[in-house]
């Protein structure tokens, strides 16, 4: 039978062992913190690469659309949408492999990419897992552009007539909005896209979650002259392209009656 003094010694020994055990577990906390840090920066990389892929793919889509327009063939928007999807997927596939390799983790889930000319949507619900730690990431980029009907018209007096285009943009934070305006210049069988205006625009007003922009472009005399000569082509076709600060772009097409013919 043990004496009471031995019980106290045993109790103190137990406290000592518990203290040592606590100390021993501390080092295992440090790598866990390191894992969390790494996952945080991995999520940042996922976010940044998705952003870049969306912008890159939209830029490629614009090139296809542009080529389609000057080629005179139809289906430029559909071809652009296909190129967008293909480039975005290829870009993401490369980036996902790089992220998995450099951070030593697994990225689950597949983002979705869509471009309809005036609309762009890139979204992802992904999971990043490392040593049993799973982190979720939700990322969405959505841009929508539309011409304000009734407010886009030819203004001024000949020969200083200009086209005033009013449009709204959703999903792009001002002031980094790069706007380009193109006129479709048809010369017989040849079609050109003339870049007639390029610059950064500030919104004129906010309408809910959309910002309204306005741009005025002088219409060169040659467009009127051609209209008079053909007696038919009296519609000026234009394209307005807007890009955000990452380079992600959308565009809208429109036409105005030049009044000749």
């Amino acid at each position: 039978m043990r004496r009471r003094g031995q019980s106290y010694v045993a109790a103190m020994l137990a406290v000592f062992v518990a203290f040592v055990a606590l100390l021993a577990t501390l080092p295992s906390v440090v790598p866990l913190t390191a894992v969390a840090d790494k996952v945080d920066t991995a999520l940042l990389s996922v976010n940044e690469t998705l952003k870049g892929c969306c912008a890159h793919a939209s830029s490629e889509a614009w090139k296809v659309f542009y080529s389609g327009k000057i080629g005179g063939g139809g289906g430029a928007t559909a071809s652009a949408a296909d190129r967008f999807l293909a480039r975005a997927r290829a870009c993401w596939s490369t980036c996902r492999d790089l992220i998995q390799g450099y951070y030593g983790l697994l990225v689950g889930g597949e983002p979705s990419f869509e471009h309809g000319g005036s609309t762009l949507t890139c979204k992802a619900e992904l999971s990043v897992s490392k040593r049993g730690t799973v982190s979720k990431l939700k990322w969405v980029k959505s841009i929508e552009m539309s011409i304000v009907n009734g407010e886009t018209a030819i203004k001024g007096v000949f020969p200083n007539k200009c086209l005033e285009i009013n449009f709204t943009l959703k999903g792009v934070k001002p002031p980094y909005v790069l706007v380009e305006v193109y006129f479709l210049d048809v010369r017989g069988s040849e079609v050109y896209l003339r870049n007639v205006w390029k610059g950064y625009l500030l919104p004129v007003s906010a309408e809910g979650d959309a910002f309204k922009y306005s741009v005025r472009v002088l219409i060169e005399l040659k467009y009127f002259a051609r209209c008079d000569a053909n007696k038919q082509a009296c519609t000026l076709q234009y394209i307005v392209k807007a890009s955000d600060d990452t380079g992600a772009c959308v565009w809208v097409e429109g036409g105005v009656d030049l009044g000749g013919g």
Binding site: D37, S45, E48, C91
Partner: protein, 145 residues
């Protein structure tokens, strides 16, 4: 049955030890309230926080893929220094990730950067302004050299 004298001494000594530690800990906390220990993982967290702040403002994308696709080094350095606590040293590098190879295309090291006291964080970017070229930004932060 009461405790024996030897047992009481052991308990008293243990209690006195615990109290002494508590008193010392409290006293040191009151005497040095501004003393902060910064370990290597804190430097990595600092670096990660700076990279995140730059990414959120889209500064990272626009400086890593600057005019003509080259790194806008001065702008990137200025942005990093804007977020860095005083007295820290840092090393900033941008590398191109090209078919399994890492090619450093930009590097800057502050005068007071101390490699042996440093810890790093990195971010991978895919491109900016329509360019596609995966690059890695590494920010190493250290105490003063």
């Amino acid at each position: 049955m009461g405790l024996r004298r030897g047992q009481l001494r052991v308990i008293e000594t243990a209690v006195a030890g615990v109290l002494a530690v508590l008193v010392l800990a409290t006293a040191s906390r009151l005497a040095y309230p501004r003393t902060v220990y910064v370990g290597y993982s804190d430097y990595a967290s600092e670096a990660a926080a700076i990279l995140k702040a730059l990414a959120d403002r889209n500064v990272l994308c626009r400086t890593v893929y600057g005019p003509g696709g080259s790194v806008a080094g001065d702008a990137l350095r200025t942005a990093v220094e804007g977020f860095l606590p005083p007295g820290r040293g840092y090393r900033l590098s941008v590398s191109r990730l090209d078919a399994g190879r890492v090619v450093e295309i930009y590097a800057f090291e502050s005068g007071n950067f101390a490699l042996e006291k440093a810890s790093s964080s990195y971010v991978i970017l895919s491109g900016c302004n329509g360019v596609f070229e995966p690059r890695m930004v590494v920010l190493s932060v250290s105490g003063g050299g």
